[in-house]
Symmetry: D2
């Protein structure tokens, strides 16, 4: 299943609103024209962006922890590398 641009922008817009980034939400609403989308707001559960991302990371971690034989290894998985 592919994620359309509009769907992604709507998820981000909702995240900005839910997280108190009201100025960013306003500007993004204008710039992406997300508010004119035919997506039903109430149908999108709160925290949707975060929960989809967590699922994705869980899956990636799983993949990186499986070695070629398919056995579980204790891999080291980090999303972003802090800058020292």
């Amino acid at each position: 299943m592919a994620l359309s641009s509009d769907e992604l922008n709507f998820l981000i817009f909702r995240y900005l609103q839910e997280s108190g980034f009201s100025h960013s939400a306003f500007t993004f609403g204008c710039e992406s024209a997300v508010s004119s989308l035919a997506i039903s707001g109430p149908d999108v559960p709160p925290g949707a962006l975060v929960s989809f991302l967590q699922k994705g990371l869980q899956y990636l971690e799983l993949e990186s922890n499986l070695n070629e034989a398919g056995t579980d290894v204790d891999g080291d998985f980090r999303l972003l590398t802090p800058h020292d």
Copy 2:
């Protein structure tokens, strides 16, 4: 693995920049103070937010298409419901 607020905000900031939403990126950079984060920009691959989300959706689709017996069924999976 949990996704920190800072990591999430950085992924969104990068998405906004990469997708040409320059005004939203500017406002979000200010409002979330994401530009002062100790995350190394070059370490984050382009399109990171989108690829993590796609992974998450793939996983969710997989889960929704597995019935209780663990067999694959042809489930209907949609991220967002269009508003009629």
Copy 3:
């Protein structure tokens, strides 16, 4: 007396805040770095930008209504020309 850039930006910033343009005020505060200015907010009277502009227009109208002999004529003065 010249109006410095910082002074002008501060007047605009205050106008945006006072007029309920909270998102614009936020973005302008960031972009112009006006919030870091060493100008004492309480010293600037409310509506300062508008009252200075009104003075300027009054003066310009006066000038445009005085003919060369210094007598008052009924001139036609408009700030902006509506677009037909």
Copy 4:
């Protein structure tokens, strides 16, 4: 002559654009709906906001430098008081 809200907002919008505050101009254009105004952009001379304000300050300085007898005094006139 009174300055309408729309005229004032248009002058500010133009100032933001002309001064390189592109993000602020974008957000203000959305928030004030200034871009939908029936004002003809080309009719507004560049730097209009600044020149009107300068006129206003010139006038105010003139007024503050005239004492009651109508003679010119060397008054001290400052727009904004720096914060020490």
